[in-house]
């Protein structure tokens, strides 16, 4: 069932949420183009936070059984640290558990350095609360 009025073409995120809440009693909501994932959100692309990088480094050290004083920069590759492909997958799974996120297979294949892992984690953690709010 549709809404009794046509929403105006430019609708802001907050108004959209109010509309969605009111319309939650309807069986099926067809907003057409508003249902697409084009949220009006300012995307600031920056590097991951240092504490995220530090947490990732700790997990990598624990997984690969490296000594505590091994210097891990953000650009160190997993393969250079002695990890094979199964180790990389295991590191990604440990990060999934630690940060409570879910990494897709296509995204996981691109992770080769600590910095990339931290960036991906930041991205997913950021996306999570917005998915829960709607």
């Amino acid at each position: 069932s549709k809404l009794p009025y046509n929403p105006p073409p430019r609708i802001y995120h907050a108004t959209l949420k109010r509309v969605l809440r009111k319309a939650s009693s309807f069986q099926s909501i067809s907003f057409g183009r508003f249902q697409s994932s084009k949220r009006i959100r300012l995307q600031i692309s920056c590097a991951a936070k240092p504490e995220t990088v530090q947490k990732v480094s700790d997990i990598v050290k624990e997984q690969l059984a490296l000594s505590a004083d091994t210097a891990l920069t953000a650009e160190s590759k997993f393969s250079a640290l002695g990890a094979d492909s199964l180790d990389t997958v295991e590191i990604v799974m440990a990060l999934e558990e630690k940060f409570d996120i879910s990494v897709e297979e296509t995204e996981a294949q691109n992770i080769t350095t600590i910095q990339e892992a931290a960036d991906l984690i930041e991205d997913l953690v950021q996306k999570k609360p917005t998915a829960q709010a709607s």
């Binding site: 492909s85 199964l86 997958v89 295991e90 799974m93 409570d100 879910s102």
Partner: protein
Amino acid sequence: MAAPFTLRKIGVPPNSANLTEARRRVFDFFRAACRSIPTIMDIYNLQDVVAPSQLRFSISAQIRNNAHVTDPKVIDLLLFKGMEELTDIVDHAKQRHHIIGQYVVGEGLVQNTGSKDQGKSDFLKNFYTSNYF
């Protein structure tokens, strides 16, 4: 909170064409197993016994055990058996002492852990089996 992971039981897929696809299936299986770990710990009450990272390590150790295999069909069969084992565990068809004995403690209680006689010499193998060689 990430969406809870449920193990979907699909039928036997066709054989993998090459090693790349077999490797992809191995990783998919490993990811499915790791994502089922919270469920497993919940079912068998393993919270005080073992940490999830230890279970992940034991799963990866078993996969690494067979890492030397190159035939895609053999890999498929091993994955099938692994998937069967995982499904049994998630379905609560096993009991707590099975899980603890096979995956937590690891050595000693199950005979076939460890690499499959890779580094041993022929002399030792013959020595272990019989007196006459």
